[in-house]
């Protein structure tokens, strides 16, 4: 399902307007990173997509549905949201029960719930920790658990809010692999992230927000090279982009393997 955001404005109160006239079209299967400094409106935008916030003006459409008309719990059927802090949602006494919570709420059959749960846990590598208490897991694994909880909901659209904060390289790789998997399944994947290296490695499209407005929207290879533009949004380009710029290139974003490819082509 496509996401269509038209002229979206959101004001928290008379003084704070978090989003100003945002227009964004996210077709099905797109893989998009939203970047910008804290306070630019990234989280507000993401929460408009999953219905936790409703527009003050403008409209957010998901497929044929308008978010303003549905409760967040109903929108959860289409949009999964992995929050930054796993400790704000873990409540079950067993890992497996935590992951089952989402699909059960969405009304899936008992067989479906079991299948989805098993596959989600396997995707994050926690399949042999099913009986453990979530808080016996290290924080980094608790984050993977909260991701599994969202994956099990099998939503066509998935939003990741700062998935790599505080994670070591191994966990970042796992998360990257999950994103590749979701892409291969044709799902729409959106991330909010400060980790530019992560964005460059896994996301094809980048949207830059500054003070509630979209100041750039395009392919990662183009947007991430615009150092001055990114600086106005208090964002520094990814490491390899900085290297590319240092070597005089004008077009690059991606993984070290991509860099090698580009090096050989020059």
């Amino acid at each position: 399902m496509d996401i269509n955001i038209q002229d979206l404005t959101h004001a928290y109160n008379s003084q704070v307007t978090a989003l100003k006239g945002v227009n964004l079209r996210i077709p099905r299967g797109d893989c998009l990173a939203i970047i910008g400094e804290n306070g630019a409106g990234k989280t507000t935008l993401a929460k408009q997509i999953n219905g936790l916030l409703k527009p003050s003006q403008g409209v957010v459409n998901i497929g044929e549905h308008t978010t303003a008309e549905l409760s967040p719990a109903k929108i959860a059927r289409f949009v999964g949201y992995a929050f930054q802090n796993p400790d704000q949602q873990l409540f079950a006494s067993k890992v497996v029960d935590e992951v089952r919570f989402g699909p059960v709420n969405l009304g899936y059959s008992s067989q479906e719930v079991t299948t989805f749960t098993e596959q989600a846990l396997a995707a994050v590598g926690l399949e042999d920790q099913t009986e453990k208490h979530p808080y016996d897991l290290h924080l980094a694994d608790r984050k993977l658990l909260s991701l599994a909880a969202v994956l099990a909901m099998r939503t066509p659209i998935v939003i990741f809010d700062e998935p790599t904060t505080g994670q070591d390289a191994l966990h970042i790789q796992k998360i990257g692999a999950i994103i590749q998997q979701l892409k291969a399944q044709g799902r729409t994947v959106i991330t909010i992230s400060h980790d530019l290296d992560f964005c460059a490695a896994y996301f094809e499209r980048v949207v830059v927000l500054r003070r509630g407005e979209v100041i750039a929207d395009g392919p990662a290879a183009e947007v991430l090279m615009q150092v001055d533009l990114l600086a106005t949004a208090a964002v520094k380009p990814p490491q390899l982009v900085r290297l590319a710029l240092g070597l005089g290139w004008d077009h690059f974003a991606g993984t070290p393997e991509d860099f090698m490819q580009a090096l050989q082509n020059k």
Binding site: D87, Q88, G102
Partner: protein, 255 residues
């Protein structure tokens, strides 16, 4: 509002008094509220003493607004209940089987005025005293600093709990948890809301304890303070007098 408090910043002479002195003023006001046998004396005290102090503190208008807000529910219920049900000889007007009596009105008046004076005394204190300054003053007089810490921190952190609760609510809603609906729906929603709150808070407490250790919180010995809470011999004597006056008034009425 970052803290849970009704304190109104200001630089009036009232604000500059030592918090314990203001506590003594409040004690005297409470004594006056319930002390004078005749409620008209309470009115006099309110108008002459309490209102003057509020004016001295540069807060007369908000003070009156706060008093009015708080006394209104008492005022209404007292005048209705006592008026109709106190019983008494002088009927002002009948209403069905009930009679609205003058004696009832007098009793209601008495209660109202005393409660008003009590509210006024507490308002004077709360509006002009920063909670952390009060705690510092108490600490200086020997109260354990851990207890003082507990009170001030609680007032600062409770508003933050609201933020946390909201974050948890959103996270669970995003997993399909319905929170609007009938009682059963709401009860079912309780567990996934409360557990993260408690467990999350325990983790926070752990980290805060480490932060406090890093600030030498558990080091025994006398503590100093950056802010000077002014005090003087005059104020010390004044405190004793105020508290004594409050007590005497209460005793007077009891006799």
């Amino acid at each position: 509002m970052a803290q849970l408090s009704l304190y109104r910043p200001g630089s009036s002479p009232l604000h500059k008094l030592n918090p314990l002195t203001k506590l003594a003023v409040m004690a005297c006001c409470l004594g006056a509220a319930f002390g004078f046998p005749n409620p008209y004396w309470v009115v006099g005290f309110y108008l002459l003493f309490t209102l003057s102090l509020a004016a001295w503190g540069g807060m007369l208008k908000p003070f009156l607004v706060q008093n009015a807000k708080l006394i209104l529910p008492f005022f209404l219920s007292l005048f209705i209940i006592q008026g109709f049900f106190y019983g008494g000889a002088t009927v002002l007007f009948p209403l069905g089987p009930f009679s609205y009596t003058l004696e009832g009105v007098e009793v209601a008046f008495g209660f109202t005025v005393r409660i008003l004076q009590a509210i006024a005394g507490m308002t004077l204190f709360i509006f002009s005293t920063r909670p952390d300054h009060l705690m510092l003053a108490l600490q200086k007089h020997g109260f354990p600093h851990q207890a003082m810490y507990l009170v001030v921190t609680t007032m600062q952190i409770i508003p933050q709990f609201q933020n946390k609760a909201l974050a948890i609510l959103e996270a669970q809603q995003a997993r399909g948890l319905e929170t609007q609906g009938n009682l059963i729906v709401r009860l079912k929603a309780l567990f996934p809301m409360v557990v993260p709150m408690i467990l999350g808070s325990l983790i926070d407490i752990d980290e805060r304890a480490i932060a406090l250790e890093s600030r030498a919180f558990s080091k025994p010995g006398p503590k100093t303070s950056l802010i000077e809470i002014p005090d003087s011999e005059t104020q010390k004597i004044l405190r004793w007098c105020l508290v004594a006056a409050g007590l005497l008034l209460v005793v007077w009425r009891a006799l």
